[in-house]
């Protein structure tokens, strides 16, 4: 990253730009990731403050907000003291506490990026951004457009610049440029390069890099999108040949054109001839300020005030029911494997309350089966596994009559002259009726993203491969028996499910239905690349039921009783509905049991709906539970509802351990729950495989929420109410605006931006050994992007990972609240006054111990 002194190295600068630009893919796939991934090689605080100094991001709350959180008790005083003590030693507690609590600080806003290019405005009195950006965005948008425009950008197979050249050459009145000089430059390929154009605009190679950063970060949304599509051409269905380099050339040409127009060709001089500019090293080390130290103290205190509650709750749980932990659930009625997603935590809790003999487990929602999926009649494959995994298998859907209905209001006819005329006269009057129906009787329609439509319920899948030669586009169709066995064994052993199988094991993926929601992918399963997990669940169930697989598993020492059947299903986390697949494969006895279990699921879903409803002002949590459920369902198909559900908002924890670790604890849907049994893995052989995906997946979700919440303007997408869908690849706020990557306000407003705490149930020695095996994994914890703690099952003591070692931790919170009745608890929750953080945190329910004796059914 050394800069400034180097002569201009285009390749290097392009590489750096790509590194720092947002890497969000077109919205059809939404994969959560650390928004500041570019700074991840630094320790957390250093990274965020550096990013803040360079790009002007808001990366923490301001001091006043922390102070108010402290005043309302959300940040606990003893935790604040402890954090200061740990950071600055006992002697300085008084000084730093005073600084934190009352010293006045001024928050400055002076990002390094953008300073050079301001010269156009200050010295030349020309607003280059206003003159160039609208047209530049429009060209990029039209070029990358996937299907909004009726006329496609011509020559997209030739690359951006060639297409622009063709238009310039073939158009009867020229193309996008008006200055003759610029037009000549466009065709002069030897000089139509970034260095030469910068020479004309800026004049001094020492400033080029800074200029390009200023320029590209003036519209990081579009630049990031171009760089992403260049790197991952298959992230769009309609392939487009584009590169960041070409986009920059085009923008520089447009800038020259605008300057020529404004001042006359060659009547103006490059920047360096007008004034002296001192090259600024954007990436120079950022010195820590006292204010930053104070903010670090506050953020730590904010986080630990919550973690401490949770750890105290866990401790309390162990102290009141010491035997419970060892105990397996007796006489299991059924088992259900869910995604570890924190939204499933509450459903699992309600299932266990409704039927005390069922057992629930959690693992990443692709259930260890990675593949591309080919819809019957689809023209593309869909990847259904985590982003980092590259599948070699293909699952094909056959049969199933995919009859797609149409939404005439999205029809292109309405944008034609006569089509528009007749549509106005016919559809127009009908749309008033339709709008009324949508308002008062919302129901599913073809324009609504429907989680259950991801796979046809009556379709058939090709899952088994009998002939390894069966390939399609380099992918093997289906899995062979040994391949299936590997995957089933891996998953079951990983979650510690090796004995005491129930007769029915449900495998439940999740997805989310929502209307009017360009970010719908962000609500689906992250482990399935932002899609519903239905196919994965069904595929896994098929594999685990396969007779050949069972035989092979037996030989590997994993015995699943013949009576045990796996059944796939999908939980819609917005509508709170469940669908099961292949129910007819159940043996008669199991079918009978399944019928009963469905009733249990329905009851649990009612309770889950009620729990979720407490955060929705439009639903009265105290009304009849059936009505709540119906209101929740309607919400998922309502066009007017910008919050069909709240996604991963409030996520904060990730538990890796046996269910008994947290069972009976009310964590308010804030914990990812990954099943793992240290007893089946005493020396931690499986632990690495279990832990490896957690920081990128759960930590990625957590950090994206963190940064979108801290700076919803720059790192988030802003309120979604004003979003314009652009090119089917992204959203902008305005017809002339930049793309807005990140999460919209409506997703993050309930979120407490605290880092993820991963708690592993195992000997800290084993945990430490495990994470040290992979540097990439270790760095997440060592650099503080994700917190790590361990609970030693032998001693019941907590250990927190810090500075390369685990240190014992004693929770200081005393008196964990006890909830006698889940209904009362849910109905007791406060409603946020506004979505300001101080009010938003008041809505959270504290950690409770749920009383075992209660009757959830009331």
């Amino acid at each position: 990253m050394g800069h400034a002194t180097h002569p201009f190295d285009l390749k290097h600068v392009l590489h750096e730009l790509r590194h720092y630009l947002p890497s969000q893919t077109p919205l059809k796939d939404f994969i959560h990731h650390n928004t500041l991934h570019a700074f991840q090689e630094m320790p957390f605080y250093e990274a965020i403050f550096t990013a803040s100094s360079i790009f002007g991001y808001q990366v923490t709350f301001n001091v006043h907000e922390y102070r108010r959180l402290h005043q309302i008790g959300r940040i606990r005083d003893e935790i604040l003291d402890r954090v200061i003590r740990e950071r600055h030693g006992e002697r300085e507690v008084k000084i730093w506490k005073e600084r934190a609590l009352s010293k006045p600080y001024k928050h400055e806003y002076e990002p390094r990026v953008g300073r050079l290019r301001e010269a156009w405005k200050n010295l030349y009195r020309i607003d280059l951004d206003n003159l160039v950006q609208p047209l530049f965005f429009r060209i990029l948008g039209s070029y990358l457009d996937q299907g909004i425009a009726l006329w496609h950008f011509p020559f997209v197979d030739q690359g951006l610049l060639s297409a622009v050249r063709e238009l310039e050459k073939e158009g009867l009145t020229g193309g996008f440029f008006r200055s003759g000089r610029v037009r000549a430059l466009l065709f002069d390929e030897a000089n139509c390069t970034i260095p030469h154009l910068l020479h004309l605009l800026v004049g001094d190679p020492a400033l080029y890099e800074q200029y390009l950063f200023d320029q590209q970060f003036g519209h990081r949304g579009w630049s990031g999108m171009v760089a992403t599509i260049e790197e991952k051409p298959d992230s769009v269905l309609y392939p487009k040949k584009i590169s960041l380099e070409e986009a920059i050339v085009l923008e520089l040409l447009l800038e020259l054109d605008a300057l020529d127009q404004e001042f006359g060709e060659t009547q103006w001089k490059p920047l360096v001839e007008t004034s002296r500019f001192e090259p600024l090293n954007l990436f120079a080390k950022v010195e820590r300020t006292e204010l930053q130290e104070v903010l670090m103290i506050w953020q730590d205190a904010f986080e630990w005030s919550y973690y401490d509650d949770v750890l105290a709750g866990l401790q309390h749980l162990r102290s009141i029911e010491p035997e419970q932990e060892q105990e397996d659930v007796p006489d299991k009625t059924f088992q259900a494997i869910f995604c570890l997603d924190e939204r499933e935590g509450s459903l699992r809790r309600h299932l266990e309350l409704t039927d005390t003999h069922c057992e629930t487990l959690g693992c990443p929602g692709f259930f260890g089966v990675e593949f591309y999926f080919h819809h019957a009649g689809g023209k593309f494959y869909e990847k259904l596994c985590p982003l980092q995994v590259t599948p070699h298998h293909l699952i094909k859907e056959t049969k199933g009559n995919h009859k797609r209905e149409h939404e005439h209001f999205h029809s292109k006819h309405t944008h034609r002259v006569f089509g528009g005329f007749f549509s106005s006269l016919s559809l127009g009057l009908w749309s008033a009726v339709k709008l009324t129906l949508n308002l008062f009787r919302p129901r599913m329609s073809p324009a609504i993203s429907n989680a259950f439509a991801h796979m046809q319920l009556d379709g058939e899948l090709i899952i088994e491969n009998t002939d390894p030669g069966q390939m399609e586009n380099g992918l093997q169709i289906g899995y062979t028996v040994p391949e299936m066995t590997d995957r089933v064994e891996n998953l079951l052993r990983g979650i510690g499910m090796v004995s005491n199988f129930a007769d029915i094991v449900y495998v439940l993926g999740h997805g989310s239905s929502s209307a009017n929601n360009p970010h719908h992918g962000a609500y689906d399963c992250g482990a399935c690349s932002g899609r519903p997990g239905s196919v994965n669940a069904r595929v896994f169930a098929f594999m685990a039921n396969h007779a050949g697989v069972r035989t092979l598993l037996d030989s590997r020492g994993l015995h699943i009783p013949a009576t045990t059947q796996f059944l796939g299903g999908l939980h819609d986390t917005a509508a709170d509905e469940i669908a099961f697949f292949d129910e007819k494969t159940l043996a008669p006895a199991n079918a009978e049991a399944h019928k009963r279990n469905r009733g249990i699921f329905e009851e649990a879903l009612d309770l889950n709906a009620k729990e979720r409803s407490r955060r929705f002002v439009s639903i009265n949590t105290k009304q009849d539970i059936r009505k709540i459920r119906e209101a929740i369902r309607r919400r998922s198909v309502s066009y007017f509802e910008p919050r069909p559900e709240l996604g991963h908002g409030t996520n904060a924890l990730c538990f890796v351990g046996h269910r008994s670790l947290t069972k009976g604890l009310f964590l308010d849907r804030r914990a990812f729950l990954n099943s793992y049994d240290y007893r089946t893995d005493p020396d931690g052989k499986l632990l690495l495989g279990v832990m490896r995906p957690l920081p990128p997946v759960c930590g990625g979700i957590n950090l994206e929420y963190y940064f979108s919440r801290m700076d919803n303007q720059k790192l988030g997408a802003g309120p979604k109410l004003s979003h314009h869908v652009v090119g089917l690849i992204g959203v902008a706020n305005s017809s002339d605006g930049d793309l807005r990557p990140g999460l919209p306000l409506q997703m993050i407003e309930v979120h407490d931006p605290i880092r993820l705490l991963i708690l592993v149930e195992h000997d800290p020695e084993v945990v430490l050994r495990t994470i040290k095996m992979e540097p990439a994994l270790y760095d997440w914890f060592d650099k503080g992007w994700v917190h790590l703690a361990a609970i030693n099952p032998a001693t019941n003591e907590f250990h927190v990972f810090k500075n390369g070692a685990f240190r014992p931790y004693k929770p200081s919170k005393e008196g964990i609240a006890l909830a006698e009745n889940i209904h009362d608890l849910l109905e007791s929750a406060a409603e946020m006054e506004t979505n300001h953080i101080v009010h938003a945190t008041q809505e959270n329910l504290p950690v409770h111990i749920l009383s075992e004796r209660q009757d959830a059914r009331v």
Binding site: Q58, N62, H107, Y109, P134, L135, R138, I139, S142, L144, Q146, G147, A149, L150, W151, H152, P154, F155, L167, E170, G171, L172, G218, R220, Y238, P239, K379, F409, H410, T414, H415, V417, G420, S424, L427, G428, A432, L435, L439, A447, S449, N516, N517, H520, V617, Y639, F640, Q713, K714, G718, H724, V725, V726, G727, L728, N733, S734, S735, E749, N835
Partner: protein
Amino acid sequence: MTELLQYLVLIPLAGFVAGLLLPPKRETAIYWSAIATVGLNSLLFVGIFVLWAKSGFADQHADGPVLYSTNTANFSINFFFDRNSAVYFFVTSVLAFLVLTFSRYYIHREKGFKRFFNNLVFFYTGLCFILFAGNLETLFVGWEIISITSFFLIAYYRERYLPVKNALKVVSFYRVADVFLLLGIWMCHHYFERNIQFAEIREMYRNGLPIITEIGYQWAIPSMFLVVALVKSAQLPFSAWLPRAMEGPTTSSAIFYGSLAVHIGIFLLLRTEPLWADNTGFRVLFGTIGLLTTLVATFTARVQSNIKTQIAYSSIAQIGIIFIEVALGLNLLALVHFAGNAFLRTYQLLVSPSVLNYLIHDQFFNFIPPQQNATNTFSDKLRLTAYTWSIREWNLDGFAYRYLWKPLKFMGNHLSFVNAWSTVWLYLPLFSVGMYYAYHREQVPVFLGKWLPIALALVGVFLILKAFVKRNEAWRAWLLIVTSQLFIALAIAFNEQFDFAQIYLYLSGILVSAALGYWCFWLLRRRSEATTLDRYHGHSYEYPRIAILFMIASLGLTGFPITPTFVGEDIILGHVHENQYALTMLIAFSLILDGLAVMRIYARLFLGPHTKGYHEVAYRSS
């Protein structure tokens, strides 16, 4: 039934005031007060409709309160009800009801929830004024209300740059339209020598009586209204403002720019139909503009990759067709087409975010790579040319910049002899001298009499041009604006012998607003906040109350309806004679600029991104 008509504007007005009084966090109460307003008014409308049907659908006229009256000028709020009012009101009510209900959930928990609903109700009030106006003056009141609510709804996300910039852009178009409407009123006033009522010209037209007999006026008067209609309905060459108005929440974009506000130009044409009905050439003129607009807008819609922009241009294209229908005399079809287009585009905008999911899904199953373009034939080349032009929006967006802002800035920047100090030492004393002579006109040489008003008005225009480009302290620009208004008043005082009470009415509005504005500057400076005009400061984030105060001052200074300045403005124009083109132009010009300069100061000080580090700062490109 005629006595009931006034309640169609009084109910919304009362609802608006009630909405202002509600606390911002009471979302339910705010929603119900808005719904009750629209509901009650619709019920009243149903009643009136029944009575109207009983009367055999005859046009209805009702006299309302007289705001100001002399022997020459009469400013009264009158009402009129006919088929056009009925259809427009029906669509307005249905959409207002639906969009308000939609917004209740959609806007939930927004910081500006109350602001949003107040603006929607005020907008509805403005529409009611327009739809039931019995004369041009009443209609103008509604017109201004729509302009100001537009500004606020476009700049709803006031902490970002583009909404504020585009709000200013749109409002400057609107301001031009408003002044043309004022000019139209002025011409009518001169031609008919009184304030005409819609009912009477309609009656004359029905009876086949000639309404405008002079050929010049046959073109001049309707042309004024045509410009207004073209601006408001985003027809050529003013089309580019419409997509840029879609900055606020989708619901407000839908009701404003998808449907109601953008069709109001048609209404104005229909309302003033008796003035041009017999002028075939005029029909050809605006029919042709409609046709051209349809072509250009359709092409532009075809290449848009932004869904809301695409809907905007599709809507513009249909409105172009409605212009043609009106030109052909197919008024009923035009009304049905209006209703259909309004509903369709509202719906399309409201569900526009779902287009991503729907079309991606569609693409997933039906995608066929489009054929690459050929370049061989002339028609290939024509197609490519149309493509590039459409991407560039036929340069329509640059239009305002090139022909309005840039020349104004150029002129303003070259007026070096005007500045705040010269105002204090030169222009204000000059004004005092002027006032003295205005009282003692017998002392003014006769040969000066003819030129003095023009010279004074010219000084006024210079002052305001300078205010328009000021980049330093806001109080200086404010001083220039106020002084400029004083000179305009003085110009009128010299133009004709008349009652000074009228000038005082005007000046009282100006001076009170000026003082209020200065108080706001003082409040900001006392809190050591910057008040320069070289950038946006976004003070409304921290000082929402000062922002409201300053807004009131701004409205007063720009002559917003119901303020004394406004009544004065109308009367003052009445004192400019029909053949005084130069003076008329100067005054009209100064009125346009006055509005723009004042809104600019408001926007720079109170809107846009700020530079304080303690909360997030929006990108300039957002």
